[in-house]
Point group: C2
Chain length 192, copies 2
C-alpha cells in the first residue's frame, strides 16, 4: 500500500524514476526554499506549490524527513550525473567536476544546494550521504595531485562559491566573478 519512495535515510539514488509527481514535489520544495527560506518548507506549502493535496505529497514521501532525504538524493545524483558527463581521462577531473556542478547550478538558478541547507536545518544526519560522497571525492582529489594544499584551497573556494550563491552573499560583481572562475580553471589545470 505504500509507494515508490522508501523514505528511509539510506535510500538509493533514483528519485525521478516516475518522472512526474515526485520530481514536481521536489521542485516545489526547492522553489519554496529559494523564495522564502528552508524553514518554510511545510508539507502543505509544498503541496500547494506542486498543485497537489497534502495527501498527494505524503503519498509520494511518507514523512517530511523522506522528502528532505529525497531532496538530498536528487542533488547528489544530479551531481554525479554532471561528473560522469565530463571527459573521463582528465587528470583532476573530480575537481573540475565539482566546479562545473557549482557553475551549472548557478547558471540554471535551479538551486539544488538548497537541499544542503534544508537538511542541515532539520536534521544534521541527513547530510551523511553528502559527507560520504565528499569524502570519496576529496580522497581522489588529494591523491590525484602532488600539491594537495592548492587542490584543497580550490575545493574550499568552490564550496565558498556554492554557499555565496546560495545565501546571496556579495560576490564582487559579475566581471570579478568571471575572472575568478577562469582563474580557478587554470589552477585546476596546473594541478597536473
Amino acid at each position: 500500500m505504500q509507494a515508490k519512495v522508501s523514505g528511509d535515510v539510506k535510500a538509493s539514488g533514483q528519485t525521478g524514476v516516475s518522472g512526474n509527481a515526485s520530481a514536481r514535489i521536489l521542485e516545489a520544495a526547492r522553489a519554496i526554499a529559494t523564495r522564502e527560506g528552508v524553514g518554510k518548507i511545510t508539507i502543505q506549502a509544498v503541496a500547494r506549490e506542486a498543485r497537489l493535496s497534502k495527501g498527494g505529497v505524503l503519498y509520494n514521501f511518507p514523512t517530511k524527513q523522506a522528502l528532505l532525504c529525497g531532496l538530498m538524493d536528487q542533488m547528489l545524483s544530479e551531481h554525479r550525473k554532471i561528473m560522469t558527463r565530463l571527459p573521463e581521462q582528465h587528470p583532476v577531473r573530480t575537481l573540475r567536476g565539482h566546479l562545473e556542478t557549482v557553475l551549472q547550478s548557478q547558471d540554471t538558478c535551479d538551486d539544488l544546494s538548497m537541499a544542503i541547507l534544508a537538511a542541515a536545518a532539520s536534521d544534521p544526519r541527513l547530510l551523511d550521504p553528502l559527507r560520504a560522497d565528499l569524502t570519496g571525492d576529496l580522497e581522489r582529489i588529494l591523491t590525484d595531485t602532488r600539491d594537495a594544499e592548492a587542490a584543497m584551497i580550490v575545493v574550499l573556494a568552490i564550496q565558498g562559491l556554492r554557499f555565496q550563491r546560495l545565501l546571496d552573499l556579495p560576490d564582487g560583481g559579475a566581471d570579478v566573478k568571471k575572472r575568478v572562475i577562469a582563474r580557478l580553471r587554470t589552477m585546476i589545470d596546473e594541478l597536473e
Copy 2:
C-alpha cells in the same frame, strides 16, 4: 515594560551589554543548533538549555525573530571585535581578519556561524546585516590588492572553510588542514 534588546531587524550591534541573561540565551540557541540543527531552535528548547523559563527568554527577546536577529548581531559584533584586534597597518588586514575569525570560531568550537544557517532557514532577510558587512569588507579587500582574483579566491576559500566546519564536512585530515591554513596565510601576505 519591554527590555533591553530591541528585536527590530535593524538593531544595533551591542548584544552582550547586560552580560548575563541575553548572552546565555544566545549561547543556548547556538548549542541547540550545533547539537540538533537550526530547525530545533524553539523558545522552549532555548529556555530549557539556558535554565530559564519561556517567559524569561521572551522578556529578553520579545519575538523569535528578535532572538535570531540577536544571534546574527552577536556574530557580526564578534567578527568586528576580532578584526579590530589585528595590527592596524597590515596591508590586507581585512582579509586576514576574515581568516582569523574563522580559525578562532573553529578553535573554540563556539560556532557563531550557526547564526547564518539559523537566519537563512527562518527568513533570508535576516542575512541583510551580514550582506552589508560583507559588501564593505569585500570592497576594501578588492581595492587593497592588485590581484583581485587571487584575493577573491582566498575569500571564497575562507567561506568554504567556515561552512565545511559548520556542516562537519570532510576536510582531508588535520595535517592537510594545517598546511592549507598556512598556505592561505602566505597567499594573503603575497597579495601586497
